[in-house]
């Protein structure tokens, strides 16, 4: 089971919007049932990322994270969305 961490400043607003899109992306690429999403504030992300496979955040990557990071902003603006999707799939497949 892969652990996907989705984070924003508060862990409430933009991360939830991004979470829905990431879920759609993963499920439509046959990954349903192979991952768990943990949604949190970026402050909690460092701890959550210790055993995670990927961090997707609408903030900058915290300096101390140890898992791969992909920006979640393209899921809000659509600019660069295809590239972000590919990055996520490459990491999780």
């Amino acid at each position: 089971m892969k652990k996907v961490v989705v984070a924003c400043g508060s862990g409430i607003a933009t991360s939830t919007a991004v979470e829905a899109k990431v879920k759609d992306l993963l499920d439509s690429n046959g990954l349903a049932g192979t991952y768990n999403i943990v949604k949190c504030s970026i402050g909690e992300a460092v701890g959550q990322c210790a055993d995670a496979d990927i961090l997707i955040a609408t903030t900058e990557a915290p300096a101390s994270i140890t898992c791969p990071y992909v920006s979640g902003v393209p899921f809000l603006t659509t600019i660069g969305k295809a590239a972000a999707e590919q990055q996520i799939l490459d990491i999780l497949k």
């Binding site: 508060s10 607003a13 919007a17 903030t59 902003v73 600019i79």
Partner: protein, 157 residues
Amino acid sequence: MATTDAELLKPELVFFDIEAKDAFELFDQLETRLSNLGYIKNTWKDAISTREKNYPTGLAFPAGEIAIPHTDPVNLEKPYIAIVKPSSPINFEPMGGDGDTVPAKLVVNLGIMRDGGQVEMLQSLMGIFMDEAKSADVFGQTTADGMVAAFSKYLSE
């Protein structure tokens, strides 16, 4: 639920006469207006400024640049959605910290208190700005009533 959130849009919360060079000047001006109207607590300005500094909210959509500053509900007196269409763009740093400064043509300040409320509102908002025709409609509004009507229409869809 989008309908309920759309009811937070009010002509008294649409501002066309704000001039600010950046987010922080904007918050100075919004503080006076929003506190006169009874929407925010005296902790609001510091809270939203700190939040914006740490986690900027400028978003460059293909159809135009916006910003969606927001802060924790504990700083609000009652829920609101304020819309600022400045005479010239207000500089925000890009969300995610990656890319150029975002000259926002429209600022949507979400003051939503209900759990989960900001989320649905945000998703509906993103839907407007991902759509060329809808964005052009809201960017082109010149009256408070028109702005409220345009947002209400799209947020209730």
